[in-house]
Amino acid sequence: MRAAALWLIALVIFGVIASGCIGGEEAKTSQADVQLTGDITKDLVEIGKVLEQNGVNEVKFSAWGSGDPNSVMRVYGIVEAARRINKIWADNGINVKIVITETHYVASFQDAYKEYLSKQPLGQAGDFFVNSYAFLPTLADEGYILDITDYAKAYQSVIDDFYPSMIEASKYDGKLYGLPQDTEARPLYIRKDVAQKIGFDLNGLDEKVKKGEFTWSDVYYWAKKAKDEGAAEWGLIHRKGSAHPDLIQFIFAFGGKLYDPNTGKLVVDVPAVYKWLYVEWKFARGGLLPEDIMSWDWAKQIHPAIVEGRALFDIGGTWYWTEWQTKQYYAKGGTPRGLKPEEVRDWFYYTLFPAGEKGDKPVTLSQPFVWMINSKAGQLNPKYDELKDVYHKLAFLMLIKASDPDINAIHSVISAHLPVRKEAAKLIKDEKWLNDLKALNLDLSDDVKNNIRDIVQATVNPINAQFLANVSYMLEYTHLAPAHPKYPALADIFKEAVDKVLRGEMTPEEAVNYIIQKVNADPELKENVEIQGEIPKDWKFPQG
């Protein structure tokens, strides 16, 4: 019995060894080193040849993105890049093809980030990931995205065409971890019809705002007048939920800061935060701003209040411009509908976010979205271990292709985001190109055309293009919220403080102390945040 068992074990061991040997002649890997030269066709051909020599005829990638319904080019840009690369390979007789296996696109960028975070370690996250630059430091720090600094050196001419602030937003610790995809400004929208009723002259207002002559005290004055005279139900409407990024603008508008580059720490700038909370408190106490707005419904309350002219001012984003045209927020005639481009143009004035008080500067805030590459990109493809560097370089070249000026410009026009490349900015001013886009008479894959056809019909017109051209100057005034792993936690605390002052649960002074208490209550947050300055004595709002 024992002898039989020994024989059986020996047989199993032999079987295991044999199965590893039979047909186990090691698959040879041909030369797998490719040097990027900066000539994209040449580099792609080189990569294509290496893949072909190694028996790889199909490369699979997936693209993950998020955002409003008009921003689908965040993933279809990758699809289009794959098609363009496949064409280059076909033209050069290379029998390799890129297949985009998944275009995962969800509405909430925070949810998309959480999903990426939990699935990346398991190797189940998308190969390409477009999301806010605010998450880039954490992803880079955890080793979840690819450092493309060295790859980008070969493509310096393309990198130089991006606006420098956008490239800076794509860096962490001095290294480049992605390429900018889009950005935006956050104008202060003003209803022209309400302004007219109360004698608020909007001519030349944007110049006054630029010079810091029109401040938040003036916003308060006109908001109060609109309310008192019954011209509008509300003086001001702003975002709900997180205080990031729209409301954070107040800190910059009052000359404050959120980050200290010398220490690398976040900052609670007490005077600026106090003034911000005082403004919110004052507006809410006067009934000019709904005291429960932080829990308003976006689709049923916030946007309808703006598009139906029930508020004089609104703190919004450039993307509102096309969102109001594609979403059915306007229900005054009974049946909800989107606004016509002419209506948006005729009803809304827009300017920078005004200075907090005289002596301060107007601001806007951008939250660039960045195309990042998974540090495990291409792992489901053949011979990944041997060809890892080739797959990663190919992924980088796909980002370069997806950043082609026309792809970037299409995204900007249909989603009312601002272009991140100078070449794309030129393109959106080109009337012929706009007409071609309207007719979808561009060199795009059928898949992409089919997916953007409706959005193009609703949004591509000279009015929207003109709007983008008109607001692009705002980028000169832009601020970026700090790319710090602890920033989301601090922004959450700001949101709670704003909610409490709006509801009248706390005075601005109590709310500032609440923020300080909350920061100090978490040892890790306390270590990463500096509390600077004191609550100003005898500060009054409104002034003048």
């Binding site: 925070q110 509801r503 208490q517 209550a521």
Partner: protein, 312 residues
């Protein structure tokens, strides 16, 4: 115990022992271990071996001392579990008794009605209450009260702290949980010989007297089971709360229980801190074990478990 009996016992018990080991003990040990690491952002490779001892527990204790939000979370947990538990147990009992005394057909329909919240998908069910309790005029409750002239301004129900927020989360979860007790008690009541009830009726006992003197004493162990089960369940429940807080219907501080805090810390924020969440989960488990133990002791669970006096 003979060798043969031990072998038989091992054979029959092994599936359950294996299940308990795999699905209870291993996760518990893993949670305790993770609570002593700096694990965050799911980076297992990097942090699993970064042992920090009791650091996460110290952080929690420090936050408990200094963070008003964390204090609110603890208080909310106590109030939410306490009151919802009473609603679930006694509400379930009341429903079971009420349907016991009426005809079977309407009783079944009525019971089915109470099962609807449990059968509805969580998101749909929560959305219904989101719009019902919404703090503006778009909220169903506000619009009804305003049209009846009972209030002139909408009331932000979930944002009135602490009782407004607590009332909403207790109401929504109470409606879901009450059906569990109802089913268990109905089933137990149906096992009671009808002769006892008929005899009591003949003697002129009222429904209340029958319930108090006959029915409730006879389903005592079921009451104990539902009480313990629901206590542990409520201590760890969070999906409905998560949505109501996420949608800003209820105040974040007074709508978050410790279970939701654990979830949000581990999965729900920009910076996901699994180490800290695991520490909070361990504390939650200790509370659960202690609470369950006390409940069983107070209600003398061992009496039910004692050997029957039959022939053995």
């Amino acid at each position: 115990m003979t060798k043969g009996k031990l072998r038989d016992l091992s054979f029959f018990l092994s599936p359950m022992v294996l299940m308990v080991f795999l699905f209870y003990l291993v996760p518990l040990v893993m949670t305790i271990y993770i609570s002593m690491t700096r694990m965050r952002n799911w980076n297992v490779d990097r942090y699993l071996t970064e042992f920090v001892g009791l650091y996460n527990y110290e952080r929690l204790f420090y936050m408990f001392q200094h963070d008003p939000t964390f204090k609110a979370v603890i208080l909310t947990t106590v109030v939410f579990v306490g009151i919802t538990l009473m609603i679930n147990v006694f509400g379930g009992l009341a429903l079971a008794l009420a349907t016991f005394f009426i005809n079977e057909r309407p009783a079944s329909s009525y019971r089915l009605l109470w099962l609807l919240p449990r059968m509805s998908p969580i998101a749909v069910y929560s959305l219904v209450w989101y719009y019902f309790f919404h703090g503006s005029e778009i909220g169903t409750l506000n619009s009804i009260l305003m049209s009846l002239g009972l209030i002139s301004e909408p009331i932000p129900w979930g944002q009135v702290t602490p009782w407004g927020a607590w009332s909403v989360i207790i109401f929504v979860n109470g409606l879901v949980g009450v059906s569990f007790g109802m089913i268990v008690f109905t089933s137990a009541l149906n096992q009671i010989p009808k002769e006892l009830v008929i005899a009591a009726r003949v003697d002129g006992a009222s429904s209340w007297q029958i319930s108090r003197r006959i029915l409730i004493p006879m389903i005592k162990w079921h009451l104990l089971y539902v009480l313990t089960w629901q206590f542990l369940s409520l201590l760890t429940t969070y999906p409905h709360l998560f949505l109501l807080v996420q949608w800003d219907l209820v105040n974040r501080d007074y709508g978050t229980t410790l279970a939701l805090y654990v979830f949000n810390t581990a999965f729900g924020r920009g910076e996901q801190d699994q180490g800290l969440a695991a520490a909070a989960a361990v504390i939650l488990s200790i509370i659960g074990i202690l609470g369950g133990f006390v409940t069983l002791k107070v209600l003398k669970f061992e009496r039910m478990m004692k050997k029957p006096r039959g022939d053995f």
